[in-house]
Amino acid sequence: MDLSFSDEELAFRDDIRTFFQEKYPQELREKLSKGIRLTREDHVNWQKILNDAGYMAVNWPVEYGGTGWSPIQKYIFATEMAEANAPDAVPFGVNMVGPVIYTFGNEEQKQRFLPDILASNVWWCQGYSEPGAGSDLASLKTSADRDGDHYVLNGTKTWTTLGQHADWIFVLARTNADVARRQEGISFILCDMNTPGITVRPIITIEGGHEVNEVHFENVRVPVDNLVGEEGKGWTYGKVLLQHERTNIAGVARSKYRLARLKEMAASSIHGADPLIAQASFRAKLVETEVALKALEFTDLRTLAAVATGKAPGPESSILKIKGTEMQQQLDTLYVEAAGYYAMPYVPDQFSLDATDDDVVVDSTEPTTALRYFNYRKASIYGGSNEIQKNIIAKHVLGL
């Protein structure tokens, strides 16, 4: 057993660190540190920089333009990215539909879609969740009826993150309603958002932001060429996709960065006579958080090590989803507590893109703490709720 990095790994880390120091735009750095939301352009520009360096498709095989990195290299990259407080690539193209296309798509589809994903020329969004389906994904109702050389899509998809920016959407739809198991008869279809019959309606979330959407399909005609793989096999492809969604699911590096910032905040924030960090109850929570985060980090590393030796990340990765999201939410809670009264002002304009000095009501980022806390209650709900994760562990790990 040995905790140290090899010389190669250390050299790799230095390269990555230099990249973020030199190539990560100062302007983005500032926006994020001030809690200002990013525009579509901000994301695209940054992703093009990542792609120029060959760092866009961390999880793709080399043949399709991926890095081909080892789990440890990916871990190092994620750590440096978090340390630089640089945003992840928007996952729907590169981490979701991309892998499905290069794994199950035909040559023509690979040629047509993968390069634009790498270059961030096309913005993808997801179409698998449906209203009412919740954790029970297989109960989806959106239909894709064959009509000549087209599929005709009807139905509604929901929780479509940043769908308002999207050029294309990947859709799980029923091509065959007359099946024994609900998981059958589902197909994986790619759809241009400009196709007539598609309407995108914003869903405003608890904290007042617009990030997710409902996407409605009314007689939307999609060429059959846009079917990925075999008709009726969509469920299998979708599971692969969710696997990839789980890459770095524990979010350890981001949480470590946030805990470090929280300590700084608590060291400056005054509580009675002392800085908050010296106040016993809060200090105890910081210690408990650091202990839990260290445990999470090593459970994550143990999983990586297993993957590195060829073992697929089994249902144990459900632990990472549960503990990873609990950690994010624990940090959110402590940020709110540290902010005191300054968690209360609802001043989104002051964090908007075109904020002027007049918009600044409270000269502090603390008013973002409660908004983030409220918004990230979703973390224990999405991606398979933590209750579902416990059912998975009970069944597949404990054999219950």
Binding site: I206, G272, E337, G340, P345, V361, Y373, F374, I381
Partner: protein, 376 residues
């Protein structure tokens, strides 16, 4: 030992409860919250006409002699309705200082209009550096002739933008954290030298940043004796804590009810999720939290007319600790059991949750009161 309430109290409870159920629906509340003022002046007038704005004041001052029990009964209903009208900052907080310290003349000048509902008030006591410490006051009141001049800033002043009348804590002597030397003044919100920046809060209330730049107040705007303000401030905030915790109990009961209804109707994997035992036991925990919190609320209310002031203070802190820890847990569980819907703006559950969460912050969070709890 008697847990029953009087006929008058029952009538008050019914009148508020009926109003909330019949005349205070959620969509209207959301519309009013979205206005620049952030609540409805018409509704505030109805509150006044129904006599609610008079409840906590002495009959001699035109009030109804209500005590902690009446306050609890009303605020619990306000919690169920997520009422955004400024009863807490105007009546409980600013009014609470005036009813305790104002002379008859001062009451005539300032309190009458508040009780009538013709003017709104706010209590400005939080400062950028003070966090939860009531005695951490930097805003200065310097003697000037027989009056004072106020200089400094107050932050997150509830109802600060809509208020016509301000009650403000100021340091007339001593150092920043001295317990002595804090004076309370009442003044018109449009006095020269006052500038206000209003904004909504994350729980759909209203607050303001207020700066005082050489604001002159006359001697008859000083409430009580100079330098003796802290004890009253502490008493008023304790009453305000009972008020928001009663509100929290109303919110918890509503969240539990809505969670039960939702899980009974929500079908996943072919069964209502309320049939899953793991969720059932969690809803039982939510029910137990609600009952335990109600018990601490009754305890705190009943302690207010006992002699032992330390025990009365402890009872208030115990209640606030419970709401800030167990109550928050209940809110998070309610959202979690509602799944994706629970984190949408559209669903009222999200807004009950946000208010319940912010009640922990208001007037000192659980850690603060745990630290100051008189363990004896």
């Amino acid at each position: 030992m008697d847990f029953s309430i009087t006929e008058d109290q029952t009538m008050l409870q019914d009148s508020v409860s009926r109003f909330i159920q019949n005349d205070y629906d959620f969509d209207m509340r959301q519309k009013n919250a979205a206005t620049s003022q952030g609540f409805s002046t018409e509704l505030w007038q109805s509150f006044a006409e129904l006599g609610w704005t008079a409840v906590p004041f002495a009959e001699a001052d035109g009030g109804l002699d209500g005590g902690a029990t009446e306050l609890m009964l009303m605020m619990e209903q306000f919690g169920k309705g997520l009422v955004i009208e400024p009863y807490l900052p105007c009546i409980v907080m600013a009014g609470g200082v005036l009813k305790r310290l104002a002379s008859d003349a001062q009451k005539q000048t300032w309190l009458g209009e508040i009780i009538e509902g013709s003017k709104l008030a706010a209590l400005a006591f939080v400062e950028p550096q003070s966090r939860f410490d009531l005695h951490d006051v930097k805003l200065t009141a310097s003697k000037d002739g027989d009056g004072y001049v106020l200089n400094g800033a107050k932050t997150v002043v509830l109802n600060g933008a809509s208020a016509d009348t301000l009650v403000v804590s100021a340091r007339s002597s001593g150092d920043r954290k001295d317990e002595d030397g804090i004076s309370l003044f009442v003044l018109a919100a449009d006095s020269d030298g006052i500038s206000r920046k209003g904004y909504p809060t994350v729980d759909a209330r209203q607050a303001a940043e207020i700066t005082f730049d050489s604001v002159r107040v006359s001697a008859d705007q000083l409430l009580g004796d100079a330098g003796d303000g802290l004890a009253t401030l502490h008493a008023v905030i304790n009453e305000a804590i009972i008020a928001i915790c009663a509100e929290a109990v109303g919110i918890m009961q509503t969240l539990n009810y809505k969670t039960l209804e939702y899980t009974k109707s929500r079908v996943q994997f072919g069964a209502p999720i309320a049939s899953f035992q793991a969720l059932q036991h969690r809803m039982v925990d939510m029910f137990v939290i609600y009952e335990q919190t109600r018990s601490l609320l009754l305890h705190a209310v009943m302690m207010q007319d006992q002699e032992d002031v330390v025990a009365a203070d402890a009872a208030v802190r115990a209640l606030k600790i419970q709401v800030g820890t167990e109550g928050r847990k209940l809110g998070e569980e309610a959202v979690q059991l509602h799944g994706g819907m629970g984190v949408t703006w559209e669903l009222d559950v999200a807004h009950y949750f946000k208010r319940l969460t912010m009640i922990d912050t208001l007037f000192g969070n659980a850690d603060f009161h745990l630290e100051h709890y008189p363990l004896g």
